[in-house]
């Protein structure tokens, strides 16, 4: 979203020049600089957070040392990957919307709704193990797509802004889930205080990659990120999607219906969102109920933005967030409130975008300066292109 909205500044100097000045992310040199500046930005964020810790009377060096010491132990590393799994899925869901210039704030409602439906439908059928898991994943995607589809229909048919529609549908989803759960799906067979839906049969349990540490949903999440890359960046459909998102009027002249693109993008986004809670539903709780985490939809927005809607960026950002979350508990032992982790995460988002912005601007200026020097040396414009 960031890099595309920037409009090449030069006009009237010639096409070659504007091409030179347009930042290209897939250019390997630029990619390297982006990576370097992102790492620098994360360090800067740690410095700023350190100052905040210092100001509030805590020892930042000790806290960071503890985080690194424990964070790079194998079980904490696995926990980080486990925590990164739903974030990747949620971020992909959000990023698909962003690529079509749609802001799907409704991932939250979509994945919670999908989690309930998938858990209930999954418990009602019996299938052999791999099929059962696959079936539940498909049901979850369908349920997520359905909930996003309401916003899609409202947007395409009635012109309702998708930001409002998805925000409102988040709250409606919470009510509907509560109602469905209370009146139909609560498992009353056990007088357990821990209320959940009927437990899924064994055949529907997602196997762990590392027992109790990492669910194989991690693989599914990686596959989804890969699929996102293929579909959005490499396929004809993805080209249409991005074209329509960048300039719907221009795309329409080329015969791409923006309404159809809006609809499809929201449906796919919702389908991916449907998977967000699957690591807990299939791998941990084996039902819907207490313990299905909330807030992942909003976290996904931050991860997608931090990763610049780019597949590699999303994976990196999700892992960074997972790592920070995994180390939060250690801080509490050090008498540092673990909520500083949330502060660090937020500051990282800010510093990464600010530093990247500053670096691109600096590079553009440098390119412009070099080009103008070349032009002054009376090089023909054509030679630049």
């Amino acid at each position: 979203m960031v890099e595309e909205t920037r409009i090449p500044v030069a006009d009237g100097v010639g096409r070659g020049l504007s091409k030179l000045m347009t930042p290209k992310l897939h250019n390997s040199k630029n990619g390297l600089i982006t990576t370097a500046s992102s790492i620098a930005a994360v360090l800067l964020a740690l410095v700023i957070s350190g100052i905040m810790l210092k100001l509030t009377g805590k020892d930042p060096i000790a806290a960071y040392r503890k985080m690194i010491e424990t964070g790079f132990q194998s079980d904490k590393m696995l926990e980080a990957l486990q925590r990164a799994t739903p974030l990747m899925l949620s971020a992909v869901a959000v990023a698909i919307g962003f690529k079509m210039n749609l802001f799907n704030i409704g991932v939250e409602g979509q994945y919670l709704f999908a989690a309930l439906i998938a858990a209930v439908v999954g418990a009602a059928v019996s299938l052999p193990a791999p099929l059962h898991v696959a079936f539940i994943l498909v049901v979850a995607m369908a349920a997520g797509a359905f909930w996003a589809g309401i916003a899609a229909v409202l947007k395409v048919k009635r012109g309702v802004n998708e930001v409002i529609a998805t925000i409102m549908l988040n709250y409606v989803a919470l009510s509907v889930i509560q109602w469905l759960f209370d009146s139909f799906f609560r498992d009353s067979s056990k007088s357990d205080l821990n209320v959940k839906t009927k437990i899924l049969p064994r055949s529907a349990w997602m196997p762990d990659l590392a027992s109790g540490r990492l669910s194989s949903m991690f693989i599914v999440a990686l596959v989804m990120v890969f699929a996102y890359w293929i579909v959005v960046f490499k396929s004809r459909f993805g080209f249409r999607l991005r074209a329509s998102g960048l300039n719907s009027v221009a795309a329409r002249t080329a015969g791409i219906s923006s309404n159809r693109m809006i609809f499809t993008a929201l449906i796919i986004s919702g389908a991916v969102a449907g998977l967000v809670a699957m690591p807990s539903v299939l791998g941990d709780i084996h039902a819907y109920g207490q313990g299905v985490p909330d807030g992942l939809g909003f976290a996904g927005i931050a991860v997608a933005l931090l990763g610049r809607n780019h597949p590699v960026g999303i994976i990196a950002a999700a892992m960074l967030y997972g790592f920070l979350d995994a180390t939060a508990g250690v801080l509490q032992i050090q008498h540092v409130p673990s909520s500083i982790i949330d502060v660090i995460k937020a500051i990282i988002v800010l510093t990464v975008v600010i530093v990247n912005e500053a670096v691109t601007r600096w590079m553009n200026r440098r390119t412009a300066a070099r080009t103008s020097m070349a032009l002054q040396a009376a090089t023909p414009v054509g030679a630049l292109a």
């Binding site: 960031v2 409202l154 925000i167 982790i341 600010i354």
Partner: protein, 434 residues
Amino acid sequence: MSTTELSAETTTATKPNLLAIINSRHGLRLITAGTLLLVLLSITRLITGADDLTSSGTMGTTLRLTVPILLAGLAGLWSERVGIVNIGIEGMMIFGTWFGAYGAWQFGPWVGLLMGVGGGAIGGLIHAVATVRFNVDHVISGVALNLLAAGGMRYMSELVFVGKKGGGISQSPPRKSAIPTFDVPFLAGGKLFGWKSPDMLGSIEDKHWFVISDLAGILRGFAFGMSWATLLALCLVPLTAWVLWRTRFGLRLRSSGEAPFAAESLGVKVTRVRYLGVIISGSFAGLGGAYLSVVSFSAYRQGQTAGRGYIGLATMIFGNWRPSGVLGGAMLFGFSDALKLRRDDSIPALFLFISFIAALVMVLSIYRKRLIPGVLAGAFGVLFLVTYLTVNKVPSSLTQATPYLVTLLVLATASQHLRPPAYAGRPYRPGESH
């Protein structure tokens, strides 16, 4: 709902005097629509016996629930009018709740509100530095601000509130005192130099007459048990409209949101104006947050804003980036929220009311020879009528969704001609257009 005062108030915001409103077709249409809605509401009340539909109590609750959303919506308005998209209102409100509660606990409620405004303004400043100075994507900055506020205030609570009487990780100690309320003399039985004046509107309301009692009830909601903070917040609507559309400063603000390069060429200091707009936006959001923790409740609680920043953003879009529209959207929201809070049995009455409106739309559409929308509206009306006749009680988990569903319903059925500020959300660097 309170459409009559609403129309009066909204139009005074844009039109200079009452005569002009009645003369203008737009104003006339608003008044007609308001009267029609009031009559329908009154009929619904008589049929269903749900007296709470237009009682002064409901209106009072409506106002209290409206104010935070209204302020969030105005916050969005101030920011987007200067061209900066503000997803961070929620975060600025969180700053407002925390600092408001801190001030109210240490120094008293008014200082609390002021500190809430300050806290929100700091949030606005951060957003402005990121978006105006560094030209960062507005949505990213806003999302980051929401995270920062939620985490930062929890961190501060652990440091400041833990161990204090009534305080803890997720809540602050209670405020010193509440902001006083007042009753208007004669209209709502307020005291005048120690003498209790008659409660005119109240006595009319109690008669449950057709239309007249409804009007009295709605008006009394504004006159009885009104908090000075609520009054202050309501005054900010015409003030915003006046500043943005009637002053030179407002023109500069709006021009930086519509055409910053043109504004720049005419000598407007776009960067400075944008800084101001976003900081004012933060202050509004902060006041909204502080209203929650100082007026609506007596202390800060974690998660107190409960997404009101996002809902405010929705009312801003709903209200077509205009103060009167924001007020309308926020009140619609507050009204359905209040109904759900006060009496669950008012909700089925709402079904009947919606079917009446659908019938009205059907008649209008057929009168204008637009058959298909007319038939659709008719079918919709029948659907809601059947729902009203068959459903006696809506489960409480579902009534929670009323305000959100009503908002969606209004948006889906009303024809929309939304026009956001032309340059909102687009990257701008001073002096780049040669």
